[in-house]
């Protein structure tokens, strides 16, 4: 099964105020995805995230100023690229994601020669399915990816995404600051990169709040939709 053995694999864990869940997240990766190295990107957390990581001897890149989720993740891509990793995966630090799926995703990436593998909640519709309002948004993005780029992505907002060096190079050059996921998936589709999805289960977050609060969802939808439309014009 494991034909990804020789490849260097890294998990990027962007963390903003995840002191309560980061240790559990790392334990999950150590236990269920031992082939993967990992690095926490501390995006200027106001809680004890940095201290907790240092105490537990977790590798952490500490950003001196808050760069937002996009900037934090991009830092991880820059690090992975320069350290010569072949495969890199984003993984939330709040306990939503399940490290058991990392090997499966890596296998699909290699076997299907994909450029990106997205962990999707909506293929087998198991586990935590996100709240109603957010699901509508996700469905709109799914429709947009189909209509504009001809590929249906069921979970474009998923923060559990694995990619190869080709995509890393692209992301290092340009990555949106806020709400980067749907826009960057569409960028890959426009460039005819191969994006596939594998079914995963997600849990409700252990701690922390979503980067997208309810009253921000309207702004979120407008901004991301516009970004996708402009991506089509590029």
């Amino acid at each position: 099964m494991d034909n990804t053995g020789k490849r260097k694999k890294l998990v990027i864990i962007p963390a903003f105020n995840e002191a309560e869940s980061i240790v559990e997240t790392v334990r999950d990766i150590r236990e269920n995805a031992p082939d993967f190295d990992f690095v926490v990107i501390n995006d200027c957390s106001k809680d004890r995230t940095l201290e907790v990581c240092k105490k537990e001897d977790i590798k952490v890149l500490n950003l001196p100023i808050n760069l937002g989720i996009g900037g934090a993740v991009q830092t991880g891509y820059v690090y992975a690229f320069h350290q010569g990793y072949d495969i890199v995966v984003q993984f939330d630090g709040d306990g939503q994601h399940d490290a058991r799926y990392l090997e499966v995703m890596a296998d699909s990436l290699v076997k299907e020669q994909a450029d990106m593998v997205i962990g999707s909640r909506f293929i087998e519709k198991q586990g935590f399915q996100s709240s109603g309002v957010r699901r509508i948004g996700i469905r709109i993005f799914s429709f947009l990816s189909q209509a504009l780029f001809g590929v249906r992505i069921t979970d474009a907002t998923s923060g559990m995404r694995m990619c190869n060096r080709r995509v890393m190079e692209l992301f290092i050059r340009d990555y949106p600051r806020d709400y980067p996921e749907p826009e960057t998936v569409c960028r890959l589709l426009r460039k005819k990169y191969k994006v596939i999805e594998v079914p995963v289960e997600m849990k409700e977050r252990l701690a922390g709040v979503s980067s997208i609060s309810f009253n921000r969802s309207v702004y979120y939808m407008i901004k991301v939709t516009l970004a996708i439309l402009i991506e089509r014009l590029r």
């Binding site: 100023i65 340009d174 600051r177 402009i230």
Partner: protein
């Protein structure tokens, strides 16, 4: 408002919108910071297309001519955009300062380390 004024204003606003979109496309503008510009531009287009809306607004605010209303709105939108820029600049100032301090600490740390090694 005369038809002539209406057409000129709408063409101008559409042109501005096209320029903005094109600049985002070329990554010379960050979408986040121009959303307000696009919003104001579109609001002005809607108001110009449907002057009745302006009549209502003008009456509520006690402004006699809808044309004055559109100038007033344009002025108001400009102020909002300028203010949002001031907010953004303040934010950046704080960020640059923090970054400079961090670099100072790092270079000091590095100096101490190389000293020890010698």
């Amino acid at each position: 408002m005369t038809l002539q004024a209406k057409v000129i204003i709408i063409v101008f606003l559409l042109f501005v919108l096209a320029v903005i979109v094109n600049m985002i496309r070329q990554r010379r503008l960050e979408l986040k910071y121009v959303l307000l510009w696009m919003g104001c531009d579109i609001a002005l287009i809607i108001l110009t297309c449907f002057p009745d809306l302006m009549n209502v607004l003008a009456r509520i605010l006690g402004i006699q001519s809808p044309m004055n209303m559109i100038f007033f709105l344009g002025f108001l939108f400009s102020l909002i955009i300028i203010f949002s820029l001031t907010v953004t600049i303040s934010h950046f100032t704080a960020m640059v300062r923090k970054m400079a301090q961090e670099i100072a600490l790092l270079s000091d740390e590095l100096k101490e380390k190389t000293k020890k090694e010698e």
